[in-house]
Amino acid sequence: MMGLLSYLVFFSTVASILAIAVLGLNLQWGNAGLFNGGVAAFFGAGAYGALILGGTPQEVHLGGFGLPFGVALIGGMFAAGALAWIFGRLTLRLRHDYLAIATFGVAVTFENVMRNAQWLSGGAQGIRGFARPLQAELGAGLSYNALYLAMVAALLILTYLFLQHLSRSPFGRLIRAIREDEEAAQSLGKSPAKVRLTAFVTGSVIMGLAGGLYGGFYAFVSPQDVLPILTFQIWAMLIVGGAGNNRGAIAGAFLIWGAWTASGWALSKFAPVEAQLYAGSIQYILIGSVIVGMLLWRPQGLFPERLLVSHSGQNNRTYKPAGE
């Protein structure tokens, strides 16, 4: 029983961290209609930023400023925001699919730089020498993990409340107005570019927060943590949970991460020994099928209270005002 509890605490921590990232993406896509194909870059900027600022000095790479975790976390968020601001200015006026590919490119470039610039990031070997916050005082074990989960959960709730509030505020209405009809909003004197950039940067800062918490939890980050598969996973969580709906975002995170880990566990438990070696490929096929199946069954996601209207060209969707 203790084992199960320990595992669930660990699982929930990771799922909650990913949920924070999904919330950030929901602000960008669900509210502002911005297709961010480079989630991994902003998540990664947060993780690397926090670990570089909070780690112990290393001769192999930059960092080791030894700042307290809270400060390091904010530093990571700032890094994510800065990255978003620079690339947002360049690319946000692009149409959907181009924006997706351009932001995907940002993520690929970020991973490349982290992999090759060894003086900055430790290269492919990752950041060394980070000690989890308060680990020395509290020791490792279930109680530590439970406390970390409490911290992550609190941040998740805070982020959710912040985004809900934002959504109902004049700024939230403004974002959606610009998404619906840019020219009308412009005619009223609003600046779409600035508003979109603000939404993009805010969403990315939230992703950076998730990244920092991720790095802190594993006490390690390497280029392998910021590969495209991460972007895909975060998006899948948003789509399956229901884009445009913050509750859907959180549900999607737990569901997809649960399905991802459970499929691996189930295959190892129930597949015959000879098939174990192929379990990896089978798991990808299962995951692909779950995603396609979900999309065939409920294309609007599990929590479809808000359906999206995107840019022109699509006329088979309706928009319902925010009830959430």
């Binding site: 884009a243 096929i285 999309l295 088979n316």
Partner: protein
């Protein structure tokens, strides 16, 4: 430097073939199709199967054509593969994309295409194993064209470029000289209006998938011929092909072809400036630069 440029053009022909199919689908059906790149893998493996089949049925077919490593068996296998891959593209559309088109939005389509890509890739991995195979183990040596500046080219690559150009020419002729080509362009321009004129939209969609699938298969076979065959061909070629389609402007076949060559050139020239560790970023830097200067790609148009 010249060597890099020549290499770039030669590898670009493969990207161009893949990008043409992708750009047609993206423009017609309005979604970023992540499955398209897997069709290259499918094409390469189907050709592998038929190549072995033909060679064992009629060993005479295993003779190489001239200085190329392409055999008669492989040429026949490629044609068969183009047909079968085209058919499978239509089947996938029928099974998955059409249904989602009717009920979901662009995003769902993109995701479904991602899911299908994962499935295709891993099914190929289960059937053929995860390792590397080749059409021919022999190493084809580059011919020295000039010594100063040093310029070396493999006959295979010239052949690939040649056939790719021929295919593009054929497509061009079809698009500009035949009624079917006009119908395709009309639908791409304005689907409703085209239907008013009696064009069957469903058939055009099928045609787009067939053409895209066939070209992708050709690209896959050429890639396998000049490099190697692994189940992850689709994953590895996804981004260069996308980059080519976007740089050229979605919907423009000529743009996709140019985009392919441009991406190939950029990827090879990049080594002159950047350390090779950064090569994967180069297609994107190109995209960023092109899109900042021309937000709809080189030949694309803003969508109405």
């Amino acid at each position: 430097m010249i060597q890099h440029m020549v290499d770039g053009v030669l590898v670009g022909s493969i990207y161009a073939l893949g990008a043409i199919g992708l750009t047609m689908v993206m423009h017609m059906l309005r979604f970023a199709n992540f499955t398209h790149a897997e069709l290259l893998s499918v094409g390469a493996y189907i050709a592998l199967v038929f190549d072995k089949l033909f060679t064992s049925l009629a060993p005479i077919l295993a003779t190489k054509i001239g200085p190329l490593s392409m055999t008669l068996a492989l040429s026949l296998a490629m044609i068969v593969s183009m047909a079968l891959t085209a058919a499978s593209a239509v089947v996938i559309d029928r099974l998955v994309f059409r249904r989602i088109r009717q009920r979901g939005d662009m995003l769902s389509m993109v995701f479904a295409s991602f899911g299908v890509a994962l499935i295709l890739r891993n099914v190929i991995g289960l059937i053929f194993g995860l390792g590397t195979t080749l059409y021919s183990k022999d190493i084809a040596f580059a011919v020295i064209i000039s010594l100063d500046p040093l310029l070396m080219v493999r006959p295979d690559q010239i052949a690939v470029l040649g056939v790719a150009l021929v295919l593009m020419l054929v497509l061009h002729l079809v698009l500009s000289r035949t009624i079917f080509g006009y119908a395709l362009r009309a639908v791409a321009e304005n689907a409703s209006l085209a239907q008013v004129n009696g064009i069957n939209l469903g058939r055009i969609v099928v045609a787009v998938w067939l053409i895209g699938g066939a070209l992708a298969a050709a690209a896959g076979v050429f890639y396998g011929l000049t490099n190697q065959i692994t189940p992850v061909i689709g994953r590895d070629l996804l981004m260069p092909v996308f980059a080519a389609a976007i740089v050229g402007g979605i919907g423009s076949v000529y743009g996709a072809a140019m985009g392919g060559f441009l991406v190939g050139l950029a990827a090879n020239l990049a080594l002159v400036i950047l350390p090779s560790g950064y090569s994967p970023s180069v297609p994107f830097l190109i995209i960023l630069v092109v899109l900042i200067l021309r937000p709809n790609g080189m030949f694309g148009e803003a969508r109405p």
